[in-house]
Amino acid sequence: MTTQSGTTEVQGEPSRAEAREGFDEITILWISEGMSCDGDTVSLTAAGQPSIEDVVLGLIPGLPKVNLVNKVLSPSLGGEDFLAPYRAAARGELEPFILVIEGSIPNQNIIEGDGYWTSFGNHPDTGEPQTLNEWIDDLAPRAWAVVAAGTCATFGGIHAMAGNPTGCMGLADYLGWDFKARSGLPVVNVPGCPIQPENFMETLVWVLQHAAGGAPPPPLDHMLRPQWLFGKTVHEGCDRAAYYEQADFARDYNSPKCQVKVGCWGPVVNCNVPKRGWMAGIGGCPNVGGICIGCTMPSFPDAFMPFMDEPPGGTLSTMVIRPYGAVIRRLRGLTNDMVNHEPRWRHNKRKLTSGYDPHWRA
């Protein structure tokens, strides 16, 4: 086509050096046999934007055909029938696949002698429980992409708190933070305890669009989280934040005001839940009266405990804002009172006092 007007021709290729053919079909191998509660799988089923069945049934344009293998949703009766695709992938006979890990990764190295913390099926040769660690070692190097679903898999989470007996950790701690899957993507971390349903689906869809060749890789931050989801704090999206600015703090949980003095860590936690709600815009945490306990964070839970006490930094910051907030609140109160009055010319008397003059010219 000619480009007389100086417009450039629209490229049919993605604007990246590593332009490649996309996949028409891809399998998602989901393993929730980390130390998990399966809460991330359950949360996934709560997403409606898009829903998992929309993805599986091919109702989202621009995605490859998706074969989802997930224990909770699998129509299989279980056992080797269910494990077949995992076995095939471990043998290198199933490509491409996305490996999703749910749950903390235990440290098998601290066990002396035989024993295991968590397993997924039995080893075909020995009949002994096949540990999660063995599965990860087999599958991660062959995976086109590796996704950690939920805070347990991303950073270790609850089961990795101080005093834990299993020595567990997150997936990137286990594989190495410089791990790269076949696509060149590092571990894609979607934290949350559990994952916010739509956050996860949105990330998965981006990875799938990338797999189809129709999108660049999703932008991740230094903790390998999707930047656009975890780039702001809870406080920056919280509808109670204005109370903070006015230094108007809840003293217990009966109050609709800012909860920073009763345990909320929102000002320093990377998470979009108050802005987005929990599902379809409903629910959330501090916006609906639940303190933010930092469940998306690498330092969760220890840095935030005891949850119901004021965060140490909150004492200073609320003291600093107190004089400003007090003045602003009063000034706003005065102005608010003023704008709560109608102008004088709205009346039912016999004379118009609005200032209207039919002969007035500009």
């Binding site: 279980g78 024993g115 609850i158 708190m161 639940g290």
Partner: protein
């Protein structure tokens, strides 16, 4: 018991085959089932179930602030975490001596009602019913499917399906109409849940002492409008389930033997009555009996007790097959309960968890889970109670006690009447659940949709009362408290799949001991020190096989139906095993990726 032509009346020489399924799909957590099946006589002669996960909640909670317990224990379970938070807050409220405002109880009850409706719906329609769907029945009992195609559905005027096979088709995974609608309904009901508890699975607005949920008019009207959107779906679900399960009894005479076990049911009660509950141990019997789901221990169909104090004192945590050191020689934490009754060393209050990871030895220790039992004072037995998957025990216990008498739900001794209001298409409907003859697979599954109706009906009452309080300006939802230096507490609740209790000991304002006992250890416990098997094994062992396939293409659907009827939720962990299984593989539809056998 009637026999069928497919079931031999005389015993033939056994033809034993090892069959195993590990992991089991369509449940929460990891579970394996190992069986020996006698194909000559078409029955399961031995069953062991195994799960392999240890996370150590009771280990890492020691020394933490007790107020954190509800937030932490929610993470035990990813489908009913809120049940743990609620139960933990009950236990903490006892320990701190605090009673939440009444409105907080209504909000908690509404949240829990939404959880029951959501969880039972997704489990029944998207997980359990795959075993009863057209695709599965075609692969396991083609004769039954043919009959289903010829059988008119008796309740078709309610649910709109002409034949039993039409209902079965509607449950085909990812394609069937009801399967897809159930996923959507499970989202609407989770929105209801989020209105009360902030977010689903791990709630954000539940605290010891009350809730942080802001009671505004729309908090309740948003909930009500969603509830009314699913009310007809619930009526239809009950009708469809009744049609399919009645048909199974009819098409496969003797199916009542599948998953049947001695009637040993436990229910710890749900939905506090805000007017009665004060969380004091001394009055626990009174407020326990005032709950809107009545606690009870049922043995051979008789109510043994509905007194939560008796229930609490009868708890025994046994070892025998588990990867732990015994604690029997440790110092007890609690020698007597607050009323002066002696507390056993095997009671959760006195338990110390010392994990010892080791090789799975099916002759010795093979489990990460202990064996909860209930000590029957009259007989001296340590009973392996089951929960019937939750709904069966809840309905049975509530019916027998006959205490619940509310505008929408009435317990009548032998039955429970549930009235649901008019919906978009269906009129006001009164359902009646009657105590069944058996504690078996089909009755566990049948009870589930009835309990969905029960929870929906109770929610209507809680809404009425909560909105009444709100309109009267009574909006307090949280009560302050001090954490005492030393205290004990226990909470009793019903998780979705059955009994749940939390046991807490506080010393120096810190957790000295914390042991949650969810339903799955009860249902899936390993053989205890006396050799008593857990309910899964017990229910599967000795059950007949109705599947038409032989050993070569055997799917084990009857066994899976039994296991799933208990609503397994394994993060709370179990582990049993026997035998070296010859593993079975089958081929499934490639849509789900299982085509690489």
């Amino acid at each position: 018991m009637t026999t069928t032509e497919s079931r031999p009346t005389e015993r033939k020489p056994a033809q034993l085959v090892d069959m195993s399924w590990d992991p089991i799909t369509r449940i929460i957590g990891n579970l394996g089932i190992y069986t020996k099946i006698d194909f000559a006589n078409r029955e399961v002669v031995e069953c062991h179930s195994t799960s392999s996960l240890f996370r150590g909640y009771s280990v890492f909670m020691k020394g933490k602030d007790p107020r954190d317990a509800g937030f932490i224990t929610s993470r035990i379970c990813g489908i009913c975490g809120d049940n743990h938070t609620t139960c933990s807050n009950y236990a903490q409220q006892m320990a701190y001596g605090v009673k939440p405002p009444k409105l907080a109880e209504h909000i908690t009850n509404l949240g829990e009602a939404a959880e029951y409706i959501f969880d039972h719906t997704i489990f029944q329609d998207n997980l359990v019913f795959v075993d009863f769907c057209e695709a599965m029945v075609k692969a396991t009992n083609p004769g039954v499917l043919a009959r289903a195609e010829r059988t008119a559905a008796p309740r078709g005027d309610i649910h709109g399906y002409r034949t039993i096979a039409d209902i079965m088709k509607a449950f085909n995974p990812f394609e069937g109409e009801v399967y897809k609608e159930a996923l959507k309904v499970s989202r609407i009901t989770r929105e209801m849940f989020c209105l009360m508890e902030g977010r689903h699975v791990h709630p954000s607005t539940l605290y010891p002492g009350g809730v942080g949920t802001m009671p505004q008019p729309n908090t309740f009207t948003d909930y009500l409008s969603r509830l009314m959107r699913v009310i007809d779906f619930i009526k239809k679900a009950v009708a469809m389930n009744d049609d399919v399960f009645d048909f199974f009894y009819e098409a496969l005479p003797g199916y009542e033997e599948v998953g049947k076990r001695r009637i040993l049911l436990g229910c710890w009660g749900a939905f506090q009555n805000p007017d009665v509950v004060d969380y004091r141990y001394a009055t626990m019997n009174e407020w326990g009996r005032a709950m809107y789901v009545t606690p009870g221990v049922i043995v051979d169909g008789q109510l043994v007790t509905n007194n939560l104090i008796d229930i609490n004192l009868g708890l025994r945590i046994m070892l025998g097959s588990s990867f732990y050191e015994d604690w029997v020689n440790e110092e007890p934490f609690v020698t007597h309960d607050p009323l002066g009754n002696p507390v056993d060393m095997r009671h959760p209050w006195n338990q110390t968890t010392v994990p010892v990871p080791q090789k799975r030895d099916f002759e010795g220790n093979y489990s990460w889970v202990m064996s909860p039992r209930w000590y029957h004072p009259a007989t001296g037995e340590h009973l392996a109670l089951d929960t019937g998957g939750g709904p069966l025990a809840r309905l049975w216990s509530t019916a027998l006690s006959g205490l619940v008498d509310t505008p929408y739900v009435k317990a009548t001794g032998g039955a429970i009447r549930i009235t649901l209001p008019r919906g978009e298409k269906l009129p006001e409907t009164t359902l009646e659940w009657r105590i069944p003859k058996w504690s078996n697979t089909l009755e566990r599954d049948r009870a589930r949709p009835y309990f969905i109706a029960y929870a929906a009906a109770m929610a209507l009452q809680f809404l009425d009362e909560a909105m009444g309080m709100l309109r009267n300006g009574d909006t307090k939802v949280y009560e302050n408290f001090e954490v005492p230096d030393e205290s004990i507490g226990c909470g009793f609740h019903e998780a979705v799949r059955g009994v749940l209790s939390h046991h807490l000991v506080i010393r120096d304002k810190k957790i000295a001991n914390y042991h949650p006992y969810p339903p799955t250890p009860w249902n899936a416990s390993p053989r205890d020190i006396y050799g008593t098997p857990g309910p899964y094994e017990d229910a599967v062992q000795g059950q007949p096989i109705f599947e038409e396939n032989g050993p070569d293409d055997f799917k084990g659907v009857d066994i899976m139906r039994t296991v799933r009827s208990f609503d397994p939720c394994l993060p709370c962990g179990v582990h049993m095993y026997m035998g070296k299984g010859k593993t079975l593989t089958t081929v499934h539809s490639p849509t789900y990726g299982a085509n690489h056998g």
